[in-house]
Each structure stands twice: as C-alpha cells, then as structure tokens.
C-alpha cells in the first residue's frame, strides 16, 4: 500500500486556495497549503510533497523565485511544479523559467484534476 499523494498548494489568494483544496480533497490526496513563497519553500522542505501547485505573483518570494530554489535544491529538484497564473498571456517573456506545466486561472475542477493526475502518473511511470 503506497502512502497517500501529497500536494503542496502555494498561493496567496486564500479564496482560491480554499476552493482548490475542496476540489483536490475529493481525491485521495493530502493537500498542504502555503500562502507565500517563503512558507511554500519551508513546507516543501519539511513535507516533501509529490507535486506542487505554484502561484506566480506572490509576496515575499514569488513563483519564479520558488521555482528557482526548487531547481537548486537537490531534494526538491525532481518534484513536478505546475505554475498557476491569472495572466491572460505571458506578458512579455518572463515565463522562461523551468516548470513542468502551466495552469491558467481559473481552471475547472475537471481540468485541474486531470492535469494533476497526468503529472502524478508520469511521476509513477517515469521514475
């Protein structure tokens, strides 16, 4: 019996977090929330999530900074990151940093669960 999947949701929008947690918790996922980049990094190190949902525009350390730290940290560098954004486009080209996938907010529960599942499956089969 494998341990439950852990998902870390890093987003400063508490309402979005609340709604998204409800959706994710419909599956056998353990969802941990963090409300800024700094807290997100701390929880990533302590909780060792299987997948991270990461908002881009956040106080303290933004999504770019968090993704950057993940890449540098050997214990975190393999964790898939799905970046969340409210931007209707890539406003210029700041998304040149490395994440596994992008999620444009808002995303329907069905699409969100499908995306998460897809990346978890890839994790199971790939590594």
């Amino acid at each position: 019996m494998s341990k439950p999947v852990r998902i870390l949701l890093i987003d400063d929008d508490v309402d979005f977090v609340k709604a998204t947690m409800k959706v994710l918790q419909s599956k056998p996922y353990e969802v941990i929330a963090a409300h800024d980049g700094k807290e997100g990094l701390e929880k990533a190190r302590s909780e060792k999530p299987d997948l991270v949902l990461l908002d881009i525009l956040m106080p303290k350390i933004d999504g770019f900074g968090v993704a950057d730290q993940f890449k540098k940290d050997q214990s975190l560098s393999k964790i898939p990151i799905l970046a969340l954004t409210s931007f209707s486009d890539s406003y210029g080209q700041p998304f040149a940093f490395e994440v596994t996938d992008f999620i444009q907010k808002p995303i329907s529960p069905k699409d969100l669960l499908a995306k998460v599942e897809k990346h978890l499956e890839r994790l199971d089969s790939g590594q």
């Binding site: 929008d13 309402d15 979005f16 609340k18 709604a19 998204t20 409800k22 959706v23 918790q25 419909s26 525009l57 409210s86 931007f87 209707s88 486009d89 890539s90 406003y91 210029g92 080209q93 907010k105 808002p106 995303i107 329907s108 529960p109 069905k110």
Partner: protein, 425 residues
Amino acid sequence: MTLVLLGSMAGPFTGGNEAEWARYLEKLLKSERDRLMGILDSLEEGVAIIGPDRVIRFMNPSMVRQFGDGTGSRCHKHLRGLEEPCLGVCKLPDVLRGATERSEYHLPDGRAYEVISSPFADSDQVPCMLAAFRNVTKEKLIEIELMELNQLKSDMLFEKTKELEQISKDVAKLKEEKRRIIRFLSAITHDLRAPLSATQSCLWAIMGGYAGAVTDEQKDLLERSTRRIDGLLALIADLLDIPRIEAGQLVQEMKEISFNEVVERSVDSIEGLAKKKNLTLTVGLPAVSPKIWGSDRRLQQVMTNLLGNATNYTEEGSILVRVTDAEDELRVEVLDSGVGIPPEELRKLFQDFFRGSNVRSDGTGLGLSISRRIVEAHGGKIWAESPCPETGRGSKFTFTLPKRASAGTGVGPGIASDKVQGNQA
C-alpha cells in the same frame, strides 16, 4: 672668339673690331635691361626697392598703379600713411642683415598684401630691400568666406546633432512609455482577473459538488453565474489585448514558427464543439509546414477566433480550413456553411464592438477587431466574404501573412488602420 649668350635677344657676337665689340656689348646690355624692365613692367606683383633710410628708390608700374608713385618718399609714409616706421611689421633691419622675410599687410581700405622682402644691392651698391607685393585681397576674402562657411557648417552640424540627440531621447522616452503601458496593463489584467478567477473557482467547486450535494436548480443558477464570469474574463482579456497589440508587444514575441502546428492546435480546440454540432470539419494544410515570422500565440488566437466564429454561426453543414503556401505569402481561408453576413455589415465586421444582426453568441464583440490588429501587425490583411464565392452560402474569412521576415516585423500596431478589408458583393 665667339661669345654666345644663350637666350640673349642681341644674338651671337659674330666677330669684328673693338668698336664693334663695344657696340655689341652696349646692345647686349640694353637688350638685357629692356627685358628685365619688361618683366618688371608686366609683373602683376608690385615691386619696390627700399633703401636703408626707408626711402623708396624704385617702384614698378604695378606698384605705382596700386599705391601711387612714391619714389623718394619714406615707405611707411607713402604705403601706409604713417609718420613712424611700421611697428612690429617692418622687416627692413632683418633684411639688411641678410634675411628673406615674408609678411602680410592689411590696409585700412581692406586690401591685403603678401610681401616677400629680400636683400638687394642697388645699382649704387647700397644694400637695400627688394619687396614684392602680391595683392591677396580676393584670396583673403575667399578665405574669410570659407571660414565663415565652415563655421556655418559646424554650427549647423552642431544643431543637427542636438536635434538628433533630442530625437533619440524622445524615442527612448516613447519606448519607456510603451514598456510602462505594457507593465501597467499586465498589472491591471492580473488584478482584474485574480478576484474573478477566485470567485469562479469557488462557484465551480460548489457546482461540481465538491462542497456538498447541489440541487439541479442550484446548479442551473451556478451555471448562469459562471458563464457570466467567463464572459467577463474574456472581455477583460480582449479589452487589454488591444492596447497591448497597439503598443507593439507582438513584435517582441515574433520568431520563426511552423504554421501548420498553429492551425492544428486551433482546430483541436474547436473540434469538440464541431463534433457536438455534427459539423464536418475539413482541414487542408500544405504538405510541408510553411515557416513564417510571427507570434505563435497571437496567430493561434486569430485562427481560434475565426474557427470559433465559424462553428458558432453554423448549425449544419461543414467548415473548411485551407492554408495555401504561395511564393511570398501564406493565405489562410476559413469557409463555413452558416448563416452568413448581410452585405452592409461586411465592412464593419472588423471594427471594435461591432455586433452584427445575426450575432447570437455571447462573445465580446472584439474578437475580429483583435484578429485584424494581429494580422496587420504581421504585415498581412484580413477580409470576409458572404456568401462564400465558392459554395454560394455561408461566409468565407481570408487572411494573408507575408513570408519574408522584413515584411511584417517592422510593422507596428494597427493603430491608424481603419481600412477594413471587405467584399463589396
């Protein structure tokens, strides 16, 4: 004895007695003197011989013409009207010591002379000064004019340089302004969208039953809410797209793209709806995907807009997408068998917020005007025909994209572009 003075006008002495010799010599001397005087007479330069006492001993005709006959007068008095020797200019002492001097005289009446003074022993063996006066008034004037001209040139150059500096400053300011607008719009986009997407996420979570069971009636109301929020999110995106395209953002995004993939992705996004409506969707692409210089994302936006319209306004029949790879441009056509567009509305289709009489979807009214801006920013054209000239029904939208990079990349926003292409059928 035969004495030959080469070049002498007297000719060779052909021999004879002493009297003849003397006559010959006299003739010879006279001829030499005449020749020298002739030279002095015809010289354009003024020549004067000035004694050590500063008295003018000799003036050639040119000198007399220019200064009047002053033989016997003091040179400073006659030439410059001064009582005392010319201070700081007089070269006499130096010349008497054996030097050849060059000097310039500027007379009060504006005449200018270049004077070469050299030592000269006069016929009485008194050491004198031979001064050759060359009138350089004209040359000096030209020199001054040239100097003034050069000054003018450098003044103008300076001014032009200043102007250019100002222009490049203005350009930098405009560029900064553009960047500021884009940053500002990005911030607005984010701030407007964030609360809406949080709301939307909450509503979706309720609607999906993630927060407890929902009745059909509740679901219906929630569906209506989420649809309105969707519309608002699309409107925000569209409204902010226009200034972003006009601020030239597209140019930054341009790169070489493979056009077939753009079409394929757009077709994928509407395939579901087309299938649901039982429409036949046919896609004709070149065997080799054409490479063009453009914004991948924005061209996909145009394709999705045209395909979305075609699907929304067609209840039965078919939609055809056709890409033709011509020599210097790509031609993209979207044909539908839908309701069509009244002829008087064809020209207005690409204007902001134009809503045709046949419009029934809840679009933003900006889709086609944004598509037009995107196509124009790529250096292309877009137009609509209805009914489609090939099928005799529905409508046909066509846009072109130049294949050469230079044709489109420099083209900025479609700001001043009110020339909407349309079929006058």
